[in-house]
Symmetry: C2
Subunit: 238 residues, 2 copies
DNA sequence: TAGTGGTCTAGACCACACT
DNA sequence: GTGTGGTCTAGACCACTAA
């Protein structure tokens, strides 16, 4: 937490989560906060603008910053989060079963992606269970030119942890699409569905800090277990 | 467009969309931009940070700001956008059929919302078609204490246009959940589905600038026509 | 009128990438 | 070393809210 504004953001977020600043109350004004934290007003404003985009507060001109009642939305299901992280922060009783690790080319047509040459990747297929019920079937294609090798133990634990903390990769952004499709026989079997039921498919492409494409993922969700929660701010279209 | 940084943001976004700054190239540096636009560097940085969060560029420390290849993600399906706006910006051949306008209480249990007293609302049910195929069934509950009356003509045109441009309401943010459910007979009939097929339900609560809750919406999507596109930046969980 | 957030400035120092 | 983006500052003026 080297940045001032980041430290202030987390301090304020904590205080909101623990109701030191209760829902519906106003935070101290920006000038008061800048005195409190011994920093300039612009730095305070950066921290507040983080709180704003993450749905902690609403700023009202001429009045102040109100604490919102949206704590439940603050875990970033709409962001990029690994299963292990989610699991940890939600205290779920979950497990991961590695079904397959092998070298494959990325099935580009699935991802609506153009490439002159085939993309070599490590294919990892994993089944995620919560309380012993299958919830998600994850299919990851991790590009070989970035990560040459992936071991069984890493796949069973957490790919993101390995990439970020062992390899020092900085994951930056992703594009996602969510659609509803018919399952294949295999998918239905693994997720314990009958073949009439649809599946929810979340496909994403993940990029590193330097804009290198790095991973393709296909997450197949049981429809009855799927829930996507989002917080959005209005933005006019021009 | 009174704000400098907003004007600069739109100018740069336009130039990216029209490939004046091609995909993969670098924008001029921040100091160059501040000379170009005759403004301070911090103002430029605000504009760039908008471009960043909307997926237009990626900033790389020590190098510059790279133009990303994500134009298709820039219409905010993940934001708050009205059907009419989307329609206009996507040039679709669409129509809206108003099925019902009447006074109702908000069915709070559907939205997992607590309230001591029932919430009086105008209920508007509309069926959205594209190329004469039913796509979405929208059910809006607009709270009476904010908007007392809604006419048939307004519902047939655009609620958001009415709220923002006629009534001067400022819509600020919303919470959304996406789930997959079984249709009722009526829903299946309206969307021309067989009752085996699932539906995608997007439920949202929309708030005004002053944090007043203002609208509940239930959007029922045909599963085969549903697609949700998102751009997300990585944020660590603490 | 006093206090609030919204915008903008001109400067400073730092960490990082490239050559 | 030079140029880049990342952070931070101290001050200014504005528009809005409330008493």
């Amino acid at each position: 937490m080297q940045n001032k504004f980041n430290a202030i953001y987390h301090d304020l977020a904590d205080k909101i989560i623990h109701h030191i600043y209760p829902v519906g109350s106003y935070l101290p004004s920006e000038t008061q906060l800048s005195e409190l934290y011994g920093t300039s007003r612009e730095t305070i404003r950066k921290a507040l603008s983080e709180l704003l985009t993450n749905g902690f507060i609403q700023k009202i001109r001429g009045k102040g910053s109100v604490v919102l009642n949206l704590q439940r939305f603050n875990f970033p299901v709409s962001g990029i989060t690994s299963f292990k992280e989610l699991n940890k922060s939600q205290h779920m009783n979950s497990s991961t079963e590695v079904l397959c690790i092998e070298d494959q080319h990325v099935p580009l047509e699935n991802f609506d992606y153009q490439s002159a040459t085939p993309l070599k990747a490590t294919y990892v297929e994993r089944l995620r269970k919560i309380d012993n019920e299958p919830i998600v079937l994850d299919r990851d294609y991790i590009l070989k030119n970035i990560v040459p090798e992936i071991s069984q133990t890493v796949a069973a634990d957490s790919l993101y942890d390995y990439f970020e903390n062992q390899l020092g990769l900085v994951i930056s952004y992703a594009t996602k699409t969510i659609t509803v499709e018919h399952p294949t026989k295999e998918e239905a079997k693994l997720l314990e569905l009958n073949e009439q039921q649809d599946i929810v498919v979340v496909r994403s492409q993940t990029y590193l800090e330097d804009t290198t494409l790095f991973q393709f993922t296909e997450s197949i969700h049981r429809p009855d277990k799927f829930s996507f929660v989002d917080f959005a701010r209005r933005q006019k279209i021009n």
